[in-house]
């Protein structure tokens, strides 16, 4: 553990830590562009210059490994001047077209200019080197070469993370520019990350471009619901519309990355949403108030148990729901309806995509959670058989589809059940057939936990309350259970998680506090 002094503060760091990393741990900001925690060191932007005792020249903090007794200063006039000087040079050939740039508001150049620059332009506008703007280079990305500060983050990402190397530098000196090779566009499933790591507006997201100025956006910490990997993300929204997902760093799960299909998962929170409880009676559909819809559904379930016995009722849970919701769904089935028929319906792929990096073939965020809570996929097959055999008289379905069944198959199956209640977020084959639609909150509209493929229990947080008239799954389940006489007192996901930690062995000893931002492995081991 070498000890060194940074701006007069004594700091202990693990062997091999760089000055830039060490500074971060004590809250000292050293400006940087090319450094990225999950990429190799390039040392080309020259923004992170600091004074190191015994070195006559300023050193780059990103490539200076701390040694015992080192004395470093990042707050001197000499350093400040150097940083301002580099920033000025960085801007001379930059088009400064912020008013039409999507990066404005989260641009490294704007941020550091306000902090370290504020110089007057001394470079003649007509002398600027011009480069190609608005190039579709494939994937989710548009390139504006003129705005590029040539930090090489994108190039290193494509070399070191995807191994596909589609981008390279071309030409030299101030005519240097990044580009793809002729006729070879970006060809990998992780292109969206390029827009994130590009510190400026050179690489922007086709999907997000010109949709919203970033300063109008608010964010919440979340988990991508796109597959079993559970990439940590931030969901960005304005009012109750989600605009994008951005990866959130978790070195044990996704480092700082996420996949392209996952990045578009947010759309499901906006489009084709179920926003009002609906009841189907006498062939007609009717929007209902929650009280009426819940009472109706509860009554029909009770009625069926009374008439045909508990075994005539089934609950199909969904691995797209949280641990908390799954736990309550199981409890409802076992303790309230007292039916053995509870299983989960897996949504597989749609695109069949998987790789050995982040993308998992299992397209559900919480399959492992469902399994650890004792809900099985085999039971689902069993329930389907029972539906086909006419044994199921009432069904509570979570989710928007049944497994990967084509729409007709779902319609046909559900038509055999006299009463179907759905708890779901989006229109689909299930909502078309359901007799009671109980619209539930999207992943940004409620909090909870998912358990990823590796058994890591990870929290996601509510960004805004459920859209329209939708409700959190917990609230819906408590409403149903209590109407069936359960007397549950759960209030909010934390109280449910406490119950899970008490009664479910794999989750023993866990709490929202212990999960923290980055989660914990269920069962205390991998």
């Amino acid at each position: 553990m070498p000890n060194f002094t940074l701006n007069g503060i004594s700091v202990d760091v693990p062997e091999g830590t760089t000055v830039l990393q060490a500074a971060k741990t004590v809250g000292i900001e050293i400006p940087h562009y090319c450094y990225h925690p999950n990429l190799s060191i390039a040392g080309n932007c020259r923004m992170c210059l600091v004074e190191v005792e015994k070195f006559p020249k300023l050193q780059i903090a990103c490539n200076t490994v701390v040694t015992e007794g080192m004395v470093v200063k990042s707050d001197t006039e000499k350093v400040r001047q150097a940083v301002t000087g580099v920033l000025e040079l960085m801007l001379i050939n930059h088009p400064v077209d912020c008013p039409i740039c999507d990066q404005a508001g989260e641009c490294g150049l704007q941020i550091y200019y306000m902090k370290y620059g504020l110089h007057k332009s001394r470079f003649a506008f007509e002398d600027k080197v011009h480069k190609k703007k608005v190039q579709d280079i494939g994937g989710q990305i548009v390139l504006d070469a003129e705005r590029c500060i040539l930090c090489s983050r994108c190039i290193r990402f494509l070399q070191e993370v995807t191994g596909t190397s589609e981008l390279e530098f071309f030409r030299r000196g101030d005519h240097s520019e990044i580009s793809i090779f002729p006729g070879r566009p970006l060809d990998n499933q992780y292109t969206g990350n390029l827009a994130d790591i590009c510190p400026v507006g050179a690489l922007t997201s086709k999907d997000f471009r010109f949709k919203c100025r970033v300063w109008f956006l608010r964010g919440t910490r979340s988990i991508c619901p796109g597959c079993a990997n559970g990439c940590n993300v931030e969901a960005h929204f304005k009012e109750d519309i989600v605009y994008r997902l951005k990866p959130r760093r978790n070195d044990d799960v996704n480092r700082t990355w996420m996949c392209d299909p996952g990045r578009l998962e947010y759309k499901k929170a906006n489009e084709a949403r179920l926003l009002t409880p609906v009841v189907r009676e006498n062939g007609g559909l009717k929007a209902e108030a929650w009280e009426a819809a819940l009472s109706f559904a509860a009554f029909r379930l009770w009625e069926t148990v009374e008439a045909h016995g508990a075994a005539s009722v089934a609950v199909i849970a969904s691995p797209a729901f949280s641990n908390e919701e799954l736990y309550l769904a199981r409890k409802l089935a076992e303790e309230v309806l007292r039916t053995p028929n509870v299983g989960f319906s897996p949504r597989s792929s749609g695109n069949g995509l998987s790789d050995d990096f982040l993308i998992k073939a299992d397209k559900n965020p919480n399959t492992r959670g469902a399994q650890l809570l004792g809900i099985s996929e085999e039971k689902f097959d069993d329930i389907v058989r029972k539906i086909e055999g006419g044994e199921v008289k009432a069904l509570l379905v979570f989710g928007n589809e049944l497994a990967d069944f084509p729409g007709e198959r779902t319609a046909e199956l559900l038509s055999r059940v006299p009463f179907v209640a759905q708890v779901g977020t989006n229109e689909g084959a299930v909502s078309l057939a359901a007799h009671a639609v109980l619209p539930s909150a999207s992943f940004v509209e409620r909090g909870g936990t998912f358990t990823n493929h590796a058994g890591r229990v990870q929290r996601f947080w509510m960004g805004f309350p459920p859209r329209g008239n939708a409700r959190g799954g917990i609230e819906i389940l408590v409403g149903l259970a209590n109407r069936l006489g359960a007397g549950w007192t759960f209030a909010g996901e934390a109280s449910v998680f406490r119950a899970i930690a008490r009664s479910e062995a794999p989750f023993a000893g866990m709490s929202y506090e212990s999960l923290g931002e980055l989660g914990q492995i269920a069962g205390g081991k991998g």
């Binding site: 390039a42 080309n44 210059l49 490539n63 150097a82 960085m90 500060i149 040539l150 000196g173």
Partner: protein, 422 residues
């Protein structure tokens, strides 16, 4: 006067192994193979042999940076990129005495326990590369290279690699990238090539002339070599004199020979009765000297004392009547064109300097432009991955410091007083 390299360069046949051998060639290698390796390195240290590529780093000291353990193969790379404007000496060695280089390589590799050597030759040197390759083939046939050199167990393979024409590929880490087939970008240091160099292996990069001096040092001893030069800088140097002198060319002279005698005695003084205005002493990247500053010994320390560098021995003579703004402008175009584009200060700064100089020369300079150049220089100097930015800044600063009135004159008169325009 004792010569180390060029004694037989007048002999057309000296480039062939047979003649080279008849004139004593490969005797040093035989001697070296019977010496303990450390002793060879010790002789090179004693010789005060300073790198001839430009930086002047003591060769023996650099060799000492190799990791002690031999678990990873070591590589010797010969820098034959010879890109520094004003420098044209390595090509002379390659065409007139290629076996000096090869014998030097064999001895160095033996001393450093390296079994692989790459000779990185600039792309334009097609004929030079052919001659070196022929010499390698001859030497291999005669058992000086290849498997079991001269009956010892020592193997050495030497490969010629042609560059593709970029000044920056003369910088040693850029050269290594280029050699590996990558874009010729200098690497961030640390790690230094001695620990992580070509193909990730411990690597020593030396200039052609540096290595060509090795056989003589082995034959005559380090002390003898040191005594040819000055206190901390031994031997002779190949000095390249260009510009309007009577006898431009390459001169082998003892380190420490005065710059005045180089220009006026050896190169015969200026042509056509011209007067001397300035001298760039060590290749285009070294700070310029005024005509009254040339009473200085051509060695690393003496040059340093007067604020310039011996560099790669490229003496560029500038006569009266030359517009210094134009001269600097031409130089800056070179650096702006050759900057690899990696570091912000160099990429943007070199281009900026070139543009400002261009407009000053064209009579379109703006108030404050000269100061602006100096400030941009401050923002570049010592702030980059490799010294190319410094190489651009040093002439820029020194031209302005020493010939400020010419720059101001361009601004005042709104034209070039010499009547130049781009």
């Amino acid at each position: 006067m004792e010569l180390v390299l060029t004694t037989h360069f007048g002999n057309e046949r000296y480039r062939f192994a047979e003649t080279y051998e008849q004139l004593g060639g490969y005797g040093a290698l035989r001697k070296a193979l019977s010496m303990p390796k450390e002793e060879i390195v010790a002789e090179v240290r004693k010789a005060n042999l300073r790198g001839r590529g430009g930086a002047g780093f003591p060769a023996g000291v650099k060799w000492g940076f190799l990791p002690k353990d031999l678990s990873r193969p070591r590589i010797l790379v010969i820098n034959a990129d010879e890109g520094e404007p004003g420098t044209f000496k390595d090509r002379l060695i390659m065409t007139r005495g290629p076996h000096l280089l090869i014998e030097g390589i064999a001895i160095t590799c033996y001393a450093l326990e390296a079994h692989t050597c790459y000779v990185y030759i600039r792309g334009e040197f097609v004929r030079e590369a052919e001659i070196v390759q022929e010499a390698i083939d001859e030497a291999t046939a005669k058992g000086y290279l290849g498997k079991g050199i001269l009956g010892t167990g020592f193997d050495l393979e030497v490969t010629v690699h042609l560059g593709a024409g970029a000044y920056i590929c003369g910088e040693e880490t850029s050269l290594i990238n280029s050699l590996e087939g990558k874009r010729g970008w200098p690497r961030v240091k640390p790690p230094f090539p001695a620990s992580v160099g070509a193909f990730g292996l411990p690597t020593i990069v030396n200039n052609v002339e540096t290595i060509a001096d090795i056989p003589w040092i082995v034959t005559h001893g380090g002390e003898k070599f040191a005594s040819l030069g000055v206190e901390k800088d031994g031997g002779t140097r190949l000095i390249c004199v260009s510009g309007p002198v009577k006898k431009p060319g390459v001169y082998e002279l003892p380190v420490g020979t005065s710059l005045r005698s180089i220009i006026y005695e050896h190169a015969g003084g200026l042509r056509d009765g011209k007067a001397l205005k300035a001298v760039i002493p060590g290749g285009s990247s070294t700070p310029v000297l005024r005509a009254d500053e040339i009473d200085v010994g051509f060695d690393i320390e003496s040059m340093q004392k007067i604020g310039t560098m011996a560099g790669s021995g490229g003496v560029i003579v500038i006569p009266e009547g030359t517009c210094m703004v134009r001269a600097l402008s031409v130089l800056m175009n070179f650096y702006a064109h050759e900057s690899c584009g990696q570091c912000t200060p160099c990429r943007e700064g070199c281009g900026w300097l070139a543009k400002v100089l261009h407009r000053i020369e064209n009579g379109q300079g703006r108030n404050g432009d000269v100061e602006l150049i100096l400030e941009v220089c401050d923002n570049m100097l010592g702030r980059t991955i490799c010294p190319l930015a410094d190489a651009a800044v040093m002439p820029a600063q020194s031209f302005i410091w020493k010939f400020r009135e010419e720059f101001d004159g361009h601004l005042r008169e709104k034209k070039c007083p010499y009547g130049n325009r781009f």
